[in-house]
């Protein structure tokens, strides 16, 4: 059996225009690597949206995903907390196993 290490995967759904600031915040708080994933559409308390580029993507959303050690997760999430309500971010934290754990 292959050796794995436990890490936290943090996924944040946010509006595209916020991506740069959030990435900088992540890096400032110890995040070493991240990946950005696309979305197509969604719905919630504020109504429905779908990716539409007529408006220059102002209404588009992306997922910022990063795999981190537990303590980095805490640090980043603490820094993030004040923004959650402001920018209605959707944040999930999942426990995952990784291989070559010292890369994260």
């Amino acid at each position: 059996m292959i050796k794995t290490t436990t890490r936290k995967k943090i996924e944040i759904l946010m509006d595209v225009p916020l991506l740069r600031s959030l990435r900088d915040l992540a890096i400032k708080n110890g995040v070493r690597g991240y990946t950005v994933l696309p979305t197509l559409a969604g719905g919630g308390d504020q109504g429905r949206w779908r990716d539409d580029q007529v408006t220059g993507g102002a209404g588009s959303k992306v997922v910022f995903a990063t795999i981190v050690k537990e303590d980095t997760a805490d640090r980043f999430l603490t820094a993030l907390e004040p923004l959650l309500d402001e920018y209605s971010l959707i944040v999930t934290i999942t426990t995952v196993e990784v291989i070559r754990g010292d890369n994260f």
Partner: protein, 315 residues
């Protein structure tokens, strides 16, 4: 009337009807973005070439100043009305107001086409004015919002960049400058794409705008009758003011009308992007519904002919 039966408008209507009927018709987003980049390049180039042909005149500076002043003052008036008559709270009122201070590229393009067809084309430099009017209202809108509210996270630098270096502004001004440099002769080899193809591609873009506008209207949650009223009153009032100023500055019919159109139109590209960042608590569904789903079609169908008529009376 004839205007309303142009293919450009008819495709907009087709898109809107398809969305209201809940058809699954949709334009792939990358195409939609590609078309919008194309439109910016094409009108930027065209403006630059016109100015390179006619030289810069003092009118350019007059129009620029008029445009800047309008885009700073319009949000202030709009904000007051949105608060009082529209019953919006501060943040939403400020965000919506910013949209009306800024401008809509496609409304400009539609007006341009109609005026050119009617033999009264606006001056080429109005494209520079268009670009200049895209962003100042954003600053005013944020200022209006922050007088009364505090905000924790300051995406300051990012916001300035998003605003001033917004892709559409950069492309519009960049193409304008390229047009200035290359002039009519340099334009010849690229004119099949940027000139001959323009109207056809604009049809496809307006098909998409029809779809998006109607979907926004269908899903708009907080769009009260009062707000719809304002989304129609704003363009009438601002368009009248803009056209009048244009006439007073001695511009020709096409140019005065175009200043009216710029004043009357509401942004749905640069401003929403900036507002998501600066005033995230403002309701994006609301400001996009007002600018895109009410004011935009109003201007296309009723507004532009009205400002043209005004200009003819005054010039």
């Amino acid at each position: 009337m004839e205007t309303l039966l142009s293919p450009v408008i008819l495709f907009f209507v087709l898109g809107a009807l398809a969305a209201f009927a809940k058809s699954d018709l949709s334009i792939p987003e990358p195409l939609s973005k590609a078309l919008s980049l194309y439109l910016m390049c094409a009108i930027g180039l065209k403006g630059g070439i016109l100015v390179s042909d006619n030289g810069m005149t003092v009118d350019l500076f007059l129009a620029a100043i008029a445009g800047l002043v309008l885009s700073c003052l319009i949000p202030i008036g709009a904000f007051a009305l949105l608060r009082s008559f529209g019953k919006l709270e501060t943040t939403n009122a400020a965000a919506v107001a910013a949209h009306y201070g800024s401008v809509s590229v496609v409304t400009f393009v539609a007006g341009n086409q109609l005026l050119t067809d009617a033999g009264t084309p606006p001056a080429g430099y109005m494209i520079a004015v268009l670009a200049l009017m895209e962003t100042p209202a954003i600053i005013v809108g944020i200022f209006l919002a922050r007088r009364n509210t505090g905000q924790a996270f300051q995406p300051g630098q990012d916001l300035l960049r998003e605003t001033l270096l917004n892709g559409s502004v950069v492309l519009l001004l960049g193409s304008f400058i390229i047009g200035l440099i290359i002039g009519k002769d340099g334009f010849a080899p690229v004119s099949p794409v940027f000139e001959t193809g323009f109207t056809g591609l604009l049809c496809l873009f307006l098909l998409d705008m029809g779809l998006v506008a109607a979907r926004r209207l269908r899903h708009a949650r907080n769009l009260t009758l009062r707000l719809v009223t304002l989304a129609i009153v704003f363009p009438i009032v601002n368009g009248t003011i803009g056209t009048t100023i244009g006439a007073m500055l001695g511009f020709d019919i096409g140019t005065a009308t175009t200043l009216g159109i710029l004043a009357a139109s509401a942004s749905y590209i640069a401003v929403p992007a900036a507002m998501r960042l600066a005033l995230p608590k403002a309701d994006a569904g609301l400001y996009l519904a007002m600018s895109l789903a009410v004011t935009f079609p109003f201007n296309i169908i009723v507004g532009i002919p009205f400002y043209t008529m005004l200009a003819k009376l005054m010039v």
